[in-house]
């Protein structure tokens, strides 16, 4: 659209503005409307399921026939030491996994910055394409791949280790109780590093080239150019993503941990979401609902906390 210039044009523009503004308002609303419906159906309607936390609900018996028990299930979280221990263990796993995720959320940034330093065009494109692929397969398939590579009796890694004479018997990488958090975060980045870097690569290509040229004239080294031009240019993106990550601090998803869980690593792999799932399908619906309700409340508090912090520190926020 050409911007109005000159006296006459500007007047016509101003005169026509009110009608257009109202028309635009409706247009935008109707464009957003389907998404409002989706949000309502998939994010607000399910909240009605919270009602199960207040009943002695057993699947199969209608809710109207089950006794109302008030806050009984919330009290059981703290009433029994074993139960409290379980919940604390799960909380610990959740917090550790999320913290590791937050700390390592700088990886895609580093990946993108280093990738743009590579001069060979085809190599850069090849790396970018190939590292994006794992993002498109589900965690179940990632686990299948992991199994075919790391299983004790037929995994490639163990085969190679045995042939090289490093070990006599295969090492059971997947069903081991040590380094579970570390391997989980490694799998996570194996899957999503290339994908996460896309945003930053776009950000880097959006940075004005003149800045680099000016820095070059001033004799800036490569590191100086990265530190004083690229990194500040990417910081807004990084902080928005960080804020969203903090909002999702306690819901780190269950697919990955569900796919990789087994009897050996269950103690350190069970995060809140997975715990809720496991409890619910071990036939304790009300308790699982109560735990997930607490999770939602903590999540909302964390998001608003992070938002306020960001508003104070950086002067911008998402809500």
């Amino acid at each position: 659209m050409e911007l109005p210039s000159g006296e006459l044009d500007r007047n016509t523009f101003v005169r026509r503005e009110p009608d257009r503004k109202i028309a635009n308002k409706y247009k935008l609303f109707f464009m957003a409307f389907p998404f409002l419906i989706i949000t309502f159906i998939f994010y607000y309607l399910p909240i009605s399921g919270w009602i199960y936390a207040f009943y002695d609900f057993i699947p199969g018996i209608p809710l109207s026939d089950t006794p109302y028990v008030g806050f009984k299930w919330f009290r059981t979280i703290v009433a029994n030491p074993t139960q409290t221990g379980e919940v604390l263990r799960v909380l610990r796993n959740t917090l550790v996994m999320s913290s590791l995720g937050l700390i390592t959320s700088i990886f895609p940034l580093i990946f993108a910055i280093l990738l743009t330093e590579i001069k060979t065009g085809w190599y850069r494109k090849f790396v970018q394409t190939m590292t994006t692929i794992p993002n498109f397969i589900s965690w179940i398939l990632v686990n299948a791949l992991a199994f075919s590579l790391f299983s004790v009796d037929s995994g490639v890694v163990n085969m190679i280790l045995i042939q090289l004479g490093i070990t006599d018997e295969g090492i059971n990488f997947l069903a081991s109780s040590s380094h579970v958090w570390l391997t989980m975060i490694l799998w996570y980045w194996w899957k999503s590093l290339g994908w996460g870097a896309i945003l930053y690569l776009a950000g880097i290509s959006g940075i004005d080239q003149e800045l680099y040229e000016a820095a070059e004239v001033d004799g800036a080294s490569r590191f100086r150019k990265i530190w004083h031009i690229t990194v500040p240019g990417l910081m807004p993106t990084f902080f928005v993503l960080l804020l969203l990550a903090i909002g999702n601090f306690v819901n780190n998803g269950m697919e990955q941990y569900f796919a990789f869980q087994n009897a050996m690593n269950k103690d350190s792999i069970e995060v809140l979401d997975l715990y809720v799932y496991n409890i619910a399908f071990a036939n304790n619906f009300p308790f699982a609902t109560a735990v997930s309700m607490l999770k939602s409340i903590v999540s909302v508090i964390l998001l608003f906390g992070a938002n306020t912090l960001s508003k104070k520190v950086r002067g911008e926020s998402i809500i």
Partner: protein
Amino acid sequence: MKKKKMGAAEFTFQCILYVLFGIFTLSCIYPFYYLFINTISSNDLSSAGYVTFIQRKFISLII
């Protein structure tokens, strides 16, 4: 613009970058490649774990 000659530090830096990205890219491709070569290899060999880097003995489709 004339091409600048690479210094030793620059050369090492580029080499390290190429190797690092190469390793990570290989680790991303290899599992898929591994599945693929196992899919088209004979069942005996792949279940015994002989198919690791190259495809061997096509699976017989006639049963």
